[in-house]
């Protein structure tokens, strides 16, 4: 009824109308963050526009003034996609769990353990044919990740342990135990990381020569995009997707409707863990060739925010993970080009997250404003 009443303010209609909010609110959050970040950059005495341009140049979205031999905008851009691949997988892992009302804060741990197992099982068998090794790495990643995610699901349905708590505990347990094994068995004495895996097992092709450029090719990037699209249709158009969102909205009602909530919870945690496993292998056996002991990748935590920024919508997450990766990847170049400390990049991501966390509130406020505006 009220939707038929028009307001004169098109901006308010965009921000307040429930129809567009899934896209307008994240964009509003990003714009707010860019403004706040610009103010910070101004305060430290630099030019924000130059800084932003530097970010985009560094990530290969804009062209730099000059490039070294075999380097070009495309090489930068491919490296950005390489870094984005695990971020996208990890964010999808967070998103599907979130759809079922589960908070998988253990993505980092699941990434680490799948990366580690894939590294020691396949990464060091240098004789294996790449055609065999690469898919095997992915398969192991999925299986190990799914088991690690499934463990959290199991603890939840069997012992009623909150997934946030068990995820945090498992993150640390994985982190220290794997650090122990790396330090005692697989350490490279120079880098203090695990020894590099062989090129045969690496999911990123390095130094591939295409038209005068030597670039990275993240072979799982396309897979990640495809999975995002499949997940979108899975959630929107299938009965299993409906069951998952039903559980996410209201566990009790889902149970009442005959949905096997426990089985679905486990199923979602298996999928989420499997996706986290893919994030793990594309990070530890793709973007990087090795594992730094006693540390968790920040991707696992950033992905929570990326998923949030993408409204937990797989298609939205493609864009939000691209954005956060661009900021992250462009930072080094921005420092040399615009003279802004590269830590500003992490700070910018943090501010974007801060504003996206307010998303629900903004939705509510703008809707209220719109309704009040119409009533007048």
């Amino acid at each position: 009824m009220e939707n038929n009443l028009k307001t004169k303010n098109p901006l308010l209609r965009l921000l307040g109308g429930t129809k567009y909010q899934f896209i307008s609110i994240p964009i509003f959050a990003i714009i707010c963050s860019l403004i706040v970040s610009a103010i910070i950059i101004l305060i430290v005495g630099q030019n924000p526009l130059m800084a932003y341009k530097g970010l985009l140049q560094g990530a290969g979205v804009l062209s730099k003034n000059q490039y070294a031999a075999y380097q070009g905008q495309i090489t930068d851009f491919m490296e950005t996609l390489d870094k984005m691949t695990p971020m996208l997988f990890a964010s999808l892992a967070v998103a599907i769990a979130m759809q079922a009302g589960l908070f998988n804060i253990g993505v980092s741990g699941q990434m680490l353990i799948s990366g580690f197992i894939a590294t020691i099982v396949i990464g060091y068998s240098r004789e294996m044919s790449p055609i065999l090794a690469k898919p095997l790495v992915a398969v192991i990643g999925v299986i190990v990740g799914a088991l690690a995610g499934g463990l959290i699901g199991f603890l939840k349905i069997k012992f009623n342990i909150n997934e946030v708590v068990s995820s945090i505990m498992l993150n640390y347990i994985f982190q220290y135990v794997i650090s122990f094994f790396i330090n005692t068995k697989y350490v490279d004495p120079v880098t203090r990381q695990s020894r590099n895996i062989g090129a045969n097992a690496r999911l990123t092709l390095m130094q591939v020569e295409i038209a005068d450029f030597k670039m990275r090719i993240p072979i799982f990037f396309i897979v990640a995009i495809l999975i995002a699209i499949v997940m979108y249709f899975f959630m929107k158009r299938t009965d299993h997707g409906l069951e998952i969102s039903a559980i996410g909205f209201n566990r009790d009602a889902a149970r009442y409707a005959g949905i096997n909530v426990k089985r679905r919870t486990l199923y979602v945690m298996l999928i989420s863990g499997g996706l986290a496993g893919l994030a793990g292998v594309t990070y530890y056996l793709g973007y990087q060739p090795s594992i730094l002991p006693k540390s968790l990748s920040s991707i696992g935590f950033d992905s929570i925010a990326v998923s949030l920024l993408g409204s937990n919508n797989p298609l939205g997450i493609i864009f939000s993970s691209f954005l956060i990766t661009v900021i992250d990847r462009g930072a080094t170049y921005m420092r040399s080009a615009a003279g802004v400390e590269q830590e500003i990049a992490a700070l910018m991501s943090g501010i974007i997250l801060l504003f996206s966390a307010m998303g629900t509130y903004m939705k509510q406020k703008f809707s209220d404003l719109l309704i009040r505006n119409r009533r007048r």
Binding site: V44, F103, I105, L155, F159, N160, I161, N162, V164, V165, S166, I168, M169, L170, N171, Y172, I173, Y176, V177, S179, F180, N183, T184, K294, S298, F301, D302, I304, A305, L308, E341, E343, I344, A346, L347, S349, G350, I351, L353, L354, A357, M358, T360, Y361, Q364
Partner: protein, 319 residues
Amino acid sequence: MLNNIIIDGLSFALPLLIIAIGGIYSERSGITNLALEGLLGFGAFCGGLFMAFFSSHFAAANVPVYLSLLIASIGGTIYAALFATLCIVFKANQVISGVVINILSVALTGFLTRQINQNFFNQPSDKFQIGVFPRTSIPVLKDIPVLGGFFNNFYLFEVIILILLAITWYLLYKTRFGMHLRACGDNPQSVDAAGIDVNKVRFKAVLISGALSGIGGMCFAYSISANFSPTIYMGAGFLAIAALIFGNWRIMPTFVACLIFGFARSAGNEIGKAMQLSSSFFDLTMTLPYVLTLLLLIFFSDTNRAPRALGEIYDKGKR
């Protein structure tokens, strides 16, 4: 060896305890607090900043280190206000807010430390010098066999923490404010009906958790090294969460949990040293608190009770 286990165990357990108590304040009021890590880091950053600028301005050498604890707690409080604003004013999901606050804390302190070092000290460093916290021993008592370790070579901040333990215990269980706070975590509607502003109580609770975490963070900074650096984010905040769950959201059992964690850690360390195991062995003992907490949850999940309204956003209009 026993002496070392006790000394190191206490110097780890007590800062952990004060952070965990911060967590208890927040969670007993109904606000899930995953932000402890960020709070303690920001607090320590503020303390470190203070030391970097002012430590040389004091005649008495020990005055600035005590002041730095105060500054750290103020810093933690200010940063906690941001967290509280997110969860309480903007009604954001508390778990997500906690994660965001942590990420932002790492980014913000990293950025500011570099920026300040660059602009004021002209050096590209991500550390602040914070000096050394004084240690002391109690004569006679320290020579008691076995138990002497409790009185030997301890940091003076441990005494401060024990005093704070008594104060926070009194405040939470014996005062009107504490009663209101605990009621907010159980049934906020009833608190509102009694004419108490739920969101105000919760806001205060989160601020207290920031203040305590800030102190804890600074103590950790002193006990790790003579620097403030990004190594402060080593997961003490999450360990504190494990401790408070282990302690069933109550102060005294959480104290015991922290002691267990601390002594398990130092004992593992000492035993490793004695058996001349490589330092990697230490990684395995580090998992102990987390494994213990998980096992506890598996076997005693029935008796373990989180505050009833934990994580619930309180909306006055909703009835």
